[in-house]
């Protein structure tokens, strides 16, 4: 999903965050607010999959390790329902083959927690081909 345009456009849309940890969700939403980007948070994958956000957002930031459906299971569903939605996978665990599995599952980019904002924005840019902020 590497952007093909040589002059990437500015990111102009909204982002969904799915993480079952409320403080992480809260912090990421605040971070996007601080750069003027709309974002919505969901605690559970099923909640996101059943919401309008699935089709409205331009990018999904998805945690892998969650109670209920895991991030990879959610990604699988996303690929079925909205094949083009760029997805950035995050993990807080140490997983040696995380990158390979993330890409194989159809993620556009990946992040290891904790990460700086520039890493987050770079991952979104990589996934969407658009620059943030």
């Amino acid at each position: 999903m590497t952007p093909t345009s040589s002059e990437p456009t500015r990111f102009d849309g909204s982002i969904a965050i799915v993480d079952d940890d409320p403080s992480v969700r809260r912090a990421l939403l605040r971070l996007f607010r601080s750069v003027g980007v709309d974002a919505v948070g969901h605690e559970f994958g099923v909640e996101f999959l059943g919401s309008r956000a699935l089709h409205d957002v331009e990018c999904l930031i998805l945690d892998v390790h969650m109670t209920g459906m895991s991030g990879l299971e959610v990604l699988e569903e996303v690929r079925v329902a909205a094949t083009k939605l760029p997805v950035v996978l995050m993990t807080g665990r140490y997983e040696p083959d995380f990158e390979d599995r993330a890409l194989a599952a159809g993620a556009s980019a990946f992040l290891r927690k904790p990460f700086l904002d520039e890493e987050l924005f770079a991952a979104i840019a990589e996934a969407t081909g658009q620059l943030l902020p």
């Binding site: 079952d20 940890d21 403080s23 992480v24 809260r26 912090a27 990421l28 605040r30 971070l31 607010r33 601080s34 750069v35 390790h65 969650m66 109670t67 209920g68 895991s70 995050m90 993990t91 807080g92 665990r93 140490y94 997983e95 290891r112 927690k113 904790p114 990460f115 700086l116 904002d117 987050l120």
Partner: protein, 624 residues
């Protein structure tokens, strides 16, 4: 110049009273003038036919008549002694010497009378005193031998005859000394020669240990007594008594040998042993106990406890001592410092000794040095603690990925909040409210990360077992934090039942108890994770009764493999590849060390239930 002997004068005035008497009717034919002064009767009274009936006492009359009629009276010098009553009523002894004279006038007795009262009375006194002595001798418990002052045997009782195995007749008049064994004879003689009738002190020998030799050569141990006695006629005699000591010596030997046996046992035992009487005096101590106090046995025996051990040490034993002296056995363990300054532990027993009337004579104390055992126990505990620690570290290693996740979550939030706050503080269009909230969240998330570190440190720390109030619910929540990521990874939801009404505080070591829950919850998560169908849950719930807090860890996993649930507690039993198999056995060891238990139950449908019971903390300790 002496007057010439005048027979007539002698007959009429000498002590002998001449008389003549008819042989047949015993009428006095003639009597010397002294007769009047002899009995106080006038001479004419003697010449009356009834004179003998009047003067001879009734008991002697027949004997006198018989003597005068006997053949003996046909020869000169025949005599009879009898008692007569004087005119004043006094009774006198007379000797009558006479002979029968036959001539043309017929047969008559001629002779004289002599007053022998004084001699006779003396003889009777002697006879009576000898009778008395013989009576005493006969009834004495000991063998008694009377000797003269030179040691010649005068008389002896039957007990003496039995002791010496000689008949009195055989030894009468011979020396007593040869009946003492040769080696003791000189001492015996010396003892006797030292007796002195003039000195009160030296007229008596009491309780000298000797031996006598029997006729057959056998030796008998005796206690000899000697006392001087003076007979009525002024002879000084020695009353020798011999008490046979055979039985007493046998008893004493038995007592000594039983005491020797007790001492032998007391010295052979690896213990400090002593006997204390009601006055709290040491009557018996073994060498080990004496040495403990830096004394010798004979120095300590007879001393009072307080004086030997000092007041402060006495206070340690006081309760046990008074219990034992009141008849109740007491036991205690005491840690002391030995004379070399080394710490020692003693198991001490105080065992009362009862006399035949069931009163308490005193008590035996036995102190067994259990320092080695105590050290071994401490070593065991140390070993157990080390093993538990190793297992804790291993468990944490297994959880490292999860714990990293638990740290990365708050750290992610911290970084995001910090960078957002920085932007909200933009000098051109600052949003201070957002910035403040972001920083509040930074602090909260940092604290959350710190809590993870703290609960991890609790498990990693290695220290002496502590005893403090621990809230098991709080501890369960901490554990759930540690394993949260593990639960998520396994798709398992861990619930901690909230019920504020239940007492969940116990007394114990927080690290070790955390380990118990970590093991049990982690096991439950791992076994449940294999279950394919949702919902997968592990539920931690609490209940309590008066004495215990019970924690149930219920999972709806596949349960245990077939067989005894107890096999789960066998070390190295594991179904997890790479697992150590020490989690459950260590959890049980820890719970048991806390006075509790861990048990496993297979549930009827699916799942497993593990119960941890721990004694509840004292009720007044509600602050924990």
């Amino acid at each position: 110049m002496n007057p010439p002997f005048d027979p007539i004068e002698f007959l009429e005035h000498g002590p002998l009273v001449p008389f003549a008497m008819d042989c047949v009717d015993e009428r006095v034919l003639w009597v010397g003038p002294q007769a009047e002064s002899l009995l106080g009767y006038p001479r004419e009274r003697w010449l009356k036919p009834d004179v003998w009936d009047v003067i001879v006492v009734e008991e002697d009359r027949r004997r006198v008549r018989d003597a005068r009629g006997s053949r003996a009276w046909a020869t000169p010098g025949a005599s009879v002694e009898y008692r007569v009553r004087a005119a004043g009523g006094a009774v006198l002894w007379l000797t009558e010497v006479g002979r029968v004279v036959q001539d043309e006038d017929g047969a008559r007795i001629e002779g004289y009378l002599l007053d022998v009262t004084e001699r006779k009375n003396r003889e009777v006194a002697i006879w009576r005193s000898e009778e008395r002595v013989r009576g005493i001798l006969r009834n004495a418990p000991d063998a008694m031998v009377v000797t003269d002052i030179g040691g010649r045997i005068q008389t002896m009782n039957a007990q003496a005859e039995r002791l010496f195995q000689y008949g009195f007749a055989d030894v009468c008049g011979s020396m007593l000394d040869p009946m003492v064994p040769q080696r003791l004879r000189a001492a015996f003689t010396e003892l006797r020669d030292a007796l002195d009738p003039e000195s009160e002190r030296r007229s008596l020998v009491a309780g000298q240990a000797f031996a006598i030799e029997q006729q057959d050569g056998g030796e008998v141990p005796v206690e000899i007594g000697m006392s001087l006695v003076t007979t009525p006629d002024g002879e000084v005699q020695i009353l020798n008594s011999f008490r046979d000591l055979t039985a007493r010596l046998r008893l004493e030997t038995q007592l000594r040998s039983s005491e020797r046996r007790i001492r032998a046992v007391a010295e052979a035992l690896p213990a400090l042993i002593f006997f204390v009487d009601q006055a709290e005096r040491f009557l018996f101590v073994n060498d080990a106990y004496a040495a403990w106090h830096g004394q010798r046995r004979h120095q300590m025996e007879g001393q009072r406890i307080r004086e030997v051990i000092g007041e402060s040490a006495y206070a340690d034993y006081e309760e046990s001592i008074s219990a034992a002296l009141n008849g109740t056995p007491a036991h205690m363990r005491l840690d002391v410092v030995d004379p070399d300054g080394q710490p020692r532990s003693f198991d001490m027993s105080f065992v009362p000794q009862f006399s035949e009337d069931e009163s308490v004579d005193g008590f035996f104390g036995a102190f067994f040095d259990v320092s080695a055992e105590v050290r071994a126990e401490q070593g065991d505990r140390l070993h157990r603690e080390q093993l538990a620690h190793v297992a804790r570290v291993a468990t944490l290693g297994e959880l490292a990925a999860s714990i990293a996740h638990e740290l990365n979550q708050p750290l992610s939030a911290v970084v995001a909040n910090a960078q957002a706050a920085r932007r909200f503080l933009d000098p051109i269009a600052p949003d201070l409210d957002e910035a403040r909230e972001a920083l509040d969240d930074v602090a909260a998330d940092a604290r959350r990360a710190g809590d993870v570190i703290a609960s991890m440190r609790k498990l990693l720390e290695r220290r002496e077992t502590r005893h403090e109030p621990v809230d098991l619910r709080h501890l369960a929540l901490e554990v759930v934090e540690l394993v949260r990521s593990e639960a998520v990874l396994n798709g398992v939801e861990v619930r901690v039942q909230e019920d504020a009404a239940t007492t969940t505080t116990v007394e114990g070591d927080p690290g070790q108890l955390t380990q118990v829950f970590l093991n049990l919850v982690k096991n439950a998560i791992e076994s449940t994770g294999r279950l394919s169908s949702a919902p997968r849950t592990v539920t931690v719930s609490f209940s309590s009764d008066r004495s215990d807090v019970e924690v149930s860890i219920l999972d709806n996993g596949p349960g245990f493999p077939a067989g005894d649930p107890e096999s789960l507690f066998q070390p190295f039993f594991t179904r997890r590849p790479g697992g150590l198999g020490m989690g459950l056995p260590i959890s049980r060891t820890i719970a048991e060390a806390h006075g509790g238990s861990v048990s496993a139950e297979r549930l009827a449908d699916e799942g497993a239930l593990l119960r941890v019971r721990l004694p509840a903390a004292p009720a007044d300790d509600s602050s924990a």
